[in-house]
C-alpha cells in the first residue's frame, strides 16, 4: 500500500544551520497516514527545529520536503496550514481575554456581509468540539480554562483548518493522568481517520501505548527509527543519550531527626479545603495529584502568593500564616516555581545575574554603606553555578538563550545562595531532558541528605513516586492518601487521585 501511495510527509536530508550551530544534519523523516510517529531526544537534539521546519517557522538550509509526494517550500505557518499541517506548540497561541469559539475562529472568522456571524461560529465550534469529544463550554473565556482545556482548544483550532498532519509538542507535559487519557483517546480517533501525527515527548512510558514508530535524534542527527512495539525503554534511553543510564532516580537516604519544620493546619483557600501537612527535616515529601487538585496552590498560599482563607501555618514553631513572600523566603524557605519563564527567571539577564539576585541578602556579601562587594558576589555565584552543573561559559550568557535544562539549573542555583531549611520544588523537571533530570535529582538527593526538608510537587508520577519518602495524594482540594515506603506504588496512587473525600484508611 505504502509503496503505491506516496507518504504523507517525506523529509529528505534536511539540514538547518543557525549562526554557529548546526541544528540539523541530514535528517530523513517519513510520516504515513494514520501513523503516530514519536520524535525522541534530549533537549537541543533537533526535535523542535525539525517540527519548526515542517510547520513553516524555519526554512531548511538544505534538503527537500514532500507532502503527498509533491515537493513544497513552506515559507510561513500559514503556508503549512494550506498543506494541512497543524502544530500545537508548547507555548499556546490563544488570546486569554477572548472566548473559546472566538479563539478557534481567530483569523478565519465566518462573515455575513461585512459583519462576523457569531451565531454560525458558535454553532461551528460546538459541532467541532462535539466531534473531537472535548467537553468545554465554547462560550467560556480562555483565561478561565485549565491548561489541559487550553490545549484542547489549541488542538480544535488546528483541526478547524482541516489538518491532515498534526504535530503535538510535549502535549502531556502539564496534563494529569486523566487528561492524558482523554488526549490519547482523541489521538486514536484521529489516527483511525487517517491523520498522521507527529508526537514529541520525554515520557517513554507513553510511547508503547500510542506510537507506531519512534525516531531518535541526537545532536542534530537521526540516530535511528525503530518500531515502538519491539523496543524497550532502556534501549530508547541508550539510543537517546548514547550511554546507558542505569538509574535516573538516585536512592535518597532518609535521615529524619524528628524535627517538624513546618506545619499546615486546617488550611482553606482557593482550591484546597481543610488540609493538614507536616514538613519534616531530612525527608522528601512528595505531593501528587491532578492539575487543579490543589496540590500546587496550597504551597503558593503558604508562600503568600495567594490568600489563605483559614488555617494556620507555622515555620520553626512561629506562626507565619499570611506572611509576605519575602518573609517566608527570609525565614529559610526556598520555592521553585513551576513556570520558570513567567515566574522564575530574569529573562534578559545573564545566568550569573539571576543567581546573584539571591545572594544580595547575605550579610557577608554586604560591604560598607550598603554597597555590595561585586567580586565576592561574582565568585560565589560562579561557585553555585559550578555546584548545579552550569558550564562556566554559560554563566555570562543571557538566560533566555540557554536550553530549558540549563535554565532549570539556574533556578536550582537560586536556592543555594542562602542557608535554607525547607526546599519546595513545584514541577522541578518540567520540559527538561533525561540527562539534566538525573543531575537535578542528584541535587535533590544532596539537599535531603544534608538534613533539609524537601517538598516535591509533581505531575510526573514516576518522578514524585521515586523521589518521595512520604507521598501525599491530593484530590479535589483535600489530601486523599498519605503513603510511605512500599505503599508508594502506581495503582495505589492512582486509586486516590479521584477520591471524593479526605483520608480513608
Amino acid at each position: 500500500m505504502d509503496d503505491t501511495n506516496p507518504p504523507l510527509v517525506e523529509m529528505t536530508r534536511i539540514s538547518k544551520e543557525f549562526p554557529g550551530v548546526k541544528a540539523l544534519d541530514g535528517v530523513d523523516f517519513t510520516l504515513h497516514r494514520g501513523e503516530v510517529h514519536v520524535l525522541f531526544g534530549e533537549n537541543g537534539a533537533g526535535k523542535s527545529t525539525l517540527i519548526s521546519i515542517l510547520s513553516g517557522l524555519y526554512r531548511p538550509t538544505s534538503g527537500s520536503l514532500r507532502i503527498d509526494g509533491e515537493e513544497v517550500d513552506l515559507r510561513s505557518v500559514h503556508d503549512a496550514a494550506k498543506y494541512g499541517i497543524g502544530t500545537v506548540f508548547q507555548e499556546f497561541s490563544l488570546i486569554p481575554t477572548l472566548r473559546v469559539f472566538e479563539n478557534v475562529y481567530l483569523g478565519r472568522e465566518i462573515k455575513r456581509g461585512p459583519l462576523t456571524d457569531r451565531r454560525a461560529m458558535v454553532e461551528g465550534a460546538r459541532t467541532l468540539f462535539r466531534d473531537l469529544g472535548f467537553e468545554i463550554d465554547i462560550r467560556r473565556r480562555v483565561s478561565t480554562l485549565s491548561r489541559a482545556e487550553q490545549q484542547m482548544v489549541e488542538i480544535a483550532k488546528v483541526f478547524l483548518a482541516k489538518a491532515q498532519v498534526l504535530i503535538l509538542d510535549e502535549p502531556t507535559a502539564s496534563l494529569t493522568e486523566k487528561e492524558t487519557r482523554k488526549l490519547f483517546a482523541f489521538i486514536a480517533k484521529a489516527k483511525a481517520d487517517g491523520v498522521g501525527i507527529i508526537y514529541i515527548s520525554h515520557r517513554i512510558q507513553e510511547f508503547r501505548e500510542i506510537a507506531d514508530n519512534i525516531s531518535v535524534l541526537r545532536d542534530g542527527r537521526l540516530i535511528g527509527t525503530v518500531s515502538a512495539r519491539d523496543t524497550s525503554e532502556k534501549a530508547l534511553v541508550e539510543l537517546m543519550t548514547g550511554r546507558a543510564i542505569d538509574q535516573i532516580y538516585p536512592e535518597i537516604g532518609r535521615q529524619p531527626d524528628g524535627r517538624t519544620l513546618m506545619t499546615l493546619r486546617q488550611m482553606h483557600g482557593a482550591g484546597f479545603h481543610g488540609v493538614d501537612i507536616d514538613v519534616r527535616a531530612g525527608e522528601v515529601l512528595g505531593i501528587a495529584g491532578l492539575v487543579g487538585s490543589g496540590k500546587s496552590r496550597i504551597w503558593r498560599s503558604v508562600l503568600g502568593l495567594q490568600p489563605i482563607r483559614a488555617g494556620v501555618v507555622t515555620l520553626n514553631g512561629r506562626d507565619v500564616t499570611h506572611a509576605a513572600t519575602r518573609h517566608m523566603l527570609r525565614g529559610g524557605v526556598y520555592y521553585l516555581p513551576p513556570d520558570r519563564k513567567s515566574e522564575g527567571l530574569q529573562l534578559a539577564a545573564t545566568a550569573r545575574e539571576n543567581i546573584k539576585l539571591s545572594l544580595l541578602g547575605r550579610a557577608d556579601m554586604a560591604g560598607r554603606f550598603g554597597i555590595v562587594a561585586p567580586r565576592r558576589i561574582k565568585a560565589l555565584a560562579d561557585k553555585i553555578g559550578e555546584r548545579v552543573g552550569i558550564a562556566s561559559g554559560h554563566m555570562g550568557r543571557i538566560v533566555s538563550k540557554l536550553s530549558g535544562g540549563n535554565q532549570q539549573k539556574v533556578l536550582f542555583g537560586k536556592g543555594f545562595g542562602e542557608e535554607r531549611d525547607i526546599y519546595i520544588f513545584d514541577e522541578p523537571t518540567v520540559g527538561v531532558d533525561m540527562g539534566t533530570r538525573a543531575a537535578l535529582y542528584r541535587l535533590i538527593k544532596e539537599i535531603a541528605e544534608a538534613g533539609k526538608a524537601v517538598v516535591v510537587i509533581s505531575s510526573d508520577l514516576p518522578e514524585v513516586m521515586n523521589l518521595a519518602h512520604r507521598l501525599l495524594v491530593f484530590s479535589k482540594g483535600r489530601v486523599s492518601a498519605e503513603l510511605t515506603g512500599t505503599e508508594i506504588a502506581e495503582e495505589n496512587v492512582l486509586k486516590h487521585f479521584f477520591a471524593e473525600t479526605g483520608i480513608q484508611s
Binding site: L345, A348, L357, S400
Partner: protein
C-alpha cells in the same frame, strides 16, 4: 596544515566586512543605537559648521545638558522598572515655584542668614517634588495604576497647583546669592551645576551597580514575579524608584530656577519627552530590566548636542520638535529589534 591555511585564505576576502558587521551588531546589542546616532550627528554637524566641535561649544553643551542629565537619570530608574514618568516636568515646575515662593517669603525675615533662607527654600522645593514622587509611587506600587495614567494625572495636578500658586506670573526677587552660586558659580573652576550633576551621576551609578536597591530595580523591571519569588519587596522598590525620579527632577528644577533667577511654572515643559528619548537612545529598554547609567548620561548629552547642532545649522525650533519626536520613535523601534535579539522572542 596546508589544507587549512588555503581554506582560511579562501574565506579571507569576505572576512573584513563580516567582522565589521559582527562588531556593529555587538555594539548595538551592548549599548543600543546611541553610538550610531552620535557618530552620525557628529559627522553631519561638523561638516555644516567648523565651530561645532570647538572646545568652547562642547563645554557649553556640557553645561546645558546638566538639567536633562539629571532628569534622565531619574527617568532611567523608572524605565528600568518597566514604567515611565510623564510628570517630571511638573516636578520641575513645582520645585521652581515652591522654592522661589519660600525664598522670597523667608529672605526678608532672616536678612543676616540668607543662606539659611536659600536652604529652606530649596528644601521646600524638594519637599514639593517628594510629594509628587510619593503620589506616583503610591498609585503605581500600592494601587496598581498604570504608570502612564498615574503620572499623566499627577502631571496635570502638579501643573495646576504650580499655576494656581503663582497665577501664571514668574516669581521674581530671589536672593542674589542663590542664582549667583547655583546658576553661574564655579567651584575649582568647574561650574556648580556641572559639579552637582557629576555627583548625582556617581551616586546613581553606585546605587544601580553596587547596592541591593539597584539590583532590585533591575529585577523588578526584568520579571516582577520572579523578583517577588526572590524575596524582593517589589512594591517598596517601585515606590522608591518614583520618589528618586521626582527628587532628581527636582534637583534639576532647583538648578534651572537658579539659572533663570525666578520661579516659573512653565519650566520643564518638554523635558518628559526629552528624558525618555535620552534614555531610550541610551539603551534603556521600554520593557524594563535593561539600562546603564553611563549610557543614559551620554544619551542626554546627545540630545542637547543635537539641539545645539540644529541651532548652529539654523534649523527652526518647530522643525526641531519634529525631528526629536521622530528620533524617539526610531529609537524605540530599534530598541524592539535589540530586545528581540537579546532575549530571542517577540
Amino acid at each position: 596544515m596546508t589544507i587549512q591555511s588555503s581554506r582560511t585564505g579562501d574565506t579571507g576576502a569576505p572576512r573584513g566586512p563580516a567582522i565589521l558587521l559582527a562588531a556593529i551588531k555587538a555594539v548595538f546589542l551592548r549599548v543600543g543605537v546611541l553610538p550610531f546616532f552620535l557618530v552620525f550627528s557628529l559627522i553631519v554637524f561638523s561638516l555644516i559648521s567648523s565651530q561645532f566641535l570647538s572646545i568652547q561649544n562642547l563645554t557649553n553643551v556640557a553645561r546645558q545638558s546638566v538639567y536633562l542629565v539629571l532628569v534622565s537619570l531619574g527617568q532611567m530608574l523608572v524605565l528600568i522598572t518597566a514604567g515611565f514618568d510623564l510628570s517630571v516636568g511638573t516636578a520641575i515646575a513645582m520645585t521652581s515655584v515652591v522654592s522661589a515662593l519660600a525664598m522670597v517669603a523667608l529672605a526678608p525675615l532672616m536678612p543676616d542668614m540668607i543662606w539659611l533662607a536659600i536652604l529652606l527654600g530649596a528644601g521646600a522645593g524638594l519637599g514639593a517634588a517628594l510629594l509628587i514622587g510619593c503620589l506616583n509611587g503610591l498609585g503605581i506600587a500600592q494601587f496598581d495604576v498604570s504608570p502612564f495614567i498615574m503620572t499623566l494625572g499627577v502631571q496635570s495636578v502638579g501643573a495646576g497647583i504650580a499655576l494656581f500658586l503663582t497665577g501664571g506670573v514668574p516669581v521674581a526677587g530671589l536672593p542674589y546669592d542663590f542664582g549667583n552660586f547655583f546658576g553661574f558659580g564655579r567651584v575649582l573652576g568647574v561650574p556648580v551645576p556641572v559639579m552637582i550633576a557629576l555627583l548625582a551621576i556617581i551616586a546613581i551609578w553606585l546605587v544601580m551597580n553596587r547596592t541591593k536597591l539597584g539590583s532590585h530595580i533591575y529585577a523588578v523591571g526584568g520579571n516582577v514575579r520572579a523578583a517577588n519569588l526572590s524575596g524582593v519587596n517589589t512594591k517598596r522598590v517601585l515606590f522608591l524608584a518614583y520618589v528618586l525620579c521626582a527628587l532628581l527632577a527636582s534637583l534639576a528644577g532647583l538648578l534651572l530656577t537658579a539659572r533663570v533667577e525666578s520661579g516659573e511654572s512653565n519650566l520643564g515643559g518638554t523635558i518628559a519627552l526629552e528624558s525618555i528619548a535620552a534614555c531610550v537612545i541610551g539603551g534603556v529598554s521600554l520593557r524594563g530590566g535593561l539600562g546603564r547609567v553611563e549610557n543614559v548620561v551620554l544619551g542626554a548629552f546627545f540630545i542637547v548636542l543635537l539641539k545645539n547642532g540644529m541651532n548652529i545649522a539654523q534649523i527652526g525650533s518647530y522643525m526641531q520638535m519634529v525631528l526629536l519626536g521622530s528620533l524617539l520613535v526610531l529609537a524605540v523601534i530599534l530598541d524592539q529589534f535589540r530586545y528581540r535579539m537579546l532575549v530571542g522572542e517577540s
